[in-house]
């Protein structure tokens, strides 16, 4: 029998938020590594970037409970890994927040992840799979976006407890990227400036998300600039 390095084995991945930003970069990386990828985003397949990789893509609004169930029943058979990147947020202080929109942010950043974890459990457990939740360094608190920070902290606390519950069945990892150059910040209401140039490149974050999910221990990993810099020589050597 020929020996194969474990990370070379082809796996089936589910990636949410696959239409843009970090999720899109994760999809590209996984395709390049030869994995099978099922991707979802909110926009329709016809509005994807022209160079979008050739994967199974389905438009699903993750704030709709029924849509999540239908999608998982129809599209997902065997599954080794799930990387949940879909999320949204606004740079709004409490004075600028809109009480009626709090629910939407909680719904996409937290409730949807709970529904997905719940619906995916059986499939992941059957193959000793892994669940990756993409949080944010804002999970420690952020005055400029208290509601967003709260949802990411909720995801972290949920992931911590779930990792303990599923210890021997499905590994759960929460991956917290620092500011990433995906356009999310502009969308969230932070104008592009010189700081934007200092943000992490999405492909590097994607790399660290994919690797972080395979970590042996520790449910949480922060994807910081420091970690990026120390990995640069490693990347060059590959």
């Amino acid at each position: 029998m020929k020996w194969q390095a474990p990370h070379r084995r082809s796996r089936i991945y589910l990636v949410t938020g696959a239409s843009s930003g970090i999720g899109l970069a994760v999809v590209k990386q996984l395709c390049a590594q030869g994995h099978r990828v099922i991707g979802t985003g909110r926009r329709s397949g016809t509005s994807l970037p022209v160079d979008y990789p050739d994967i199974d893509y389905r438009a699903v609004d993750l704030t709709e409970a029924a849509a999540i169930e239908r999608f998982i029943d129809d599209e997902i058979d065997g599954l080794d890994r799930a990387i949940l990147c879909a999320g949204a947020g606004f740079y709004r202080t409490i004075e600028e927040e809109r009480a009626g929109e709090v629910e939407h942010i909680v719904s996409i950043n937290f409730t949807a992840q709970i529904r997905l974890a719940h619906a995916l459990y059986g499939k992941l457990a059957a193959r000793k799979g892994r669940l990756g939740l993409v949080g944010s360094v804002a999970h420690k608190g952020a005055a400029a976006m208290p509601v967003y920070a709260a949802t990411k902290a909720a995801l972290d606390g949920f992931g911590r407890a779930l990792a303990l519950e599923w210890r021997d069945r499905v590994a759960v990892r929460v991956l917290h990227p620092g500011p990433t150059r995906t356009g999310m910040a502009e969308q969230a209401g932070r104008p592009a400036d010189w700081l934007t140039k200092l943000m992490l490149p999405p492909h590097a974050v994607a790399d660290m998300v994919i690797d972080g999910l395979e970590a042996d221990r520790g449910y949480r990993r922060t994807i910081s600039y420091g970690r990026y810099l120390t990995r640069l020589p490693l990347r060059a050597a590959r």
Binding site: A65, G141, L164
Partner: protein
């Protein structure tokens, strides 16, 4: 007179906070989903009936509060729990838990601040949980909501103090002798070792300073362990809570009686 708003004030810790506030001469408004519990509140307490899990009821509660006088103390206490292995708990119950424990207090806070309903030098107190330090396998979604609420408070703390003079605080109680806590405990007969809600309520009332309030020696000790050795605290919680809940769920007789 100190004006106090307490969510979830009909039962448990919220009810204890109502008593403490009245004892100290406060004027109390209670917001709760429990209509019959509201009728049993002492005289003089204003009651607002609203199910915080219902977006329309939440909106009308916000409208009523926006028309009232500013409050000196707001205690965001309303919360529910669901315990058991995550994958066995109905997901709609977990969605409701998120609505009550996380969405509602954030939406209420937003509305109160924007309508200027918290007095200068007033206090905004969120009821979190000791699980923020030690985790809570067997109530993963609940643990998430309480961490979310704690970090929401942390995000507001400095900003509200500076701009409006409001003091934001989080109280992180351990196991209490309330219906809520005993119902969700793997060992419901351990009431003796639990903190009485009136003790926690008094601690909240007295704590005019500090951000994180951890009432009681046992809970303080656990919070310190959780901060120093989070991994070990999590493993202990898995053993003393989750594994017992797991055993209970696999006994069909107990499951049907709940």
């Amino acid at each position: 007179m100190t004006r106090v708003l307490i969510t979830g004030g009909a039962k448990g810790l919220g009810r204890a906070c109502v008593r403490t506030a009245l004892k100290n001469g406060g004027h109390v408004t209670v917001l709760d989903a429990d209509a019959s519990g509201l009728t049993q509140l002492p005289d003089g307490v204003s009651a607002i009936h609203a199910d915080l899990a219902d977006a329309a009821e939440l909106r009308s509660a916000i409208n009523r509060l926006s028309a009232s006088e500013p409050f000196d103390i707001v205690i965001m206490n309303a919360g529910i729990n669901a315990t058991g292995p995550f994958e066995t708990l109905p997901v709609e119950r977990q969605a409701k838990l998120i609505a009550v424990n996380l969405t509602a207090p954030m939406a209420l806070t937003t509305a109160l601040i924007q309508a200027d309903k918290i007095a200068r030098d007033g206090r905004l107190v969120f009821v979190g949980s000791l699980s923020h330090f030690v985790s809570y396998p067997g109530a993963s979604t609940y643990a998430g909501t309480k961490d979310g609420l704690t970090v929401f408070a942390r995000s507001l703390r400095r900003h509200l103090r500076r701009s409006l003079g409001i003091r934001v605080q989080v109280v992180a109680p351990g196991p209490m002798d309330t219906d809520h806590a005993t119902e969700h405990s793997p060992t419901p007969d351990d009431r003796g070792t639990r903190m009485h809600p009136s003790v926690v309520a008094d601690t909240i009332w007295r704590s005019w300073s500090g951000f994180l309030i951890v009432p009681g020696m046992a809970a303080s000790g656990a919070s310190i362990l959780g901060r120093l050795l989070p991994g070990m605290a999590g493993r202990i919680m898995r053993r003393v809570i989750f594994e017992k809940l797991q055993a209970r769920t696999s006994e069909p007789s107990n499951l049907s009686s709940r």
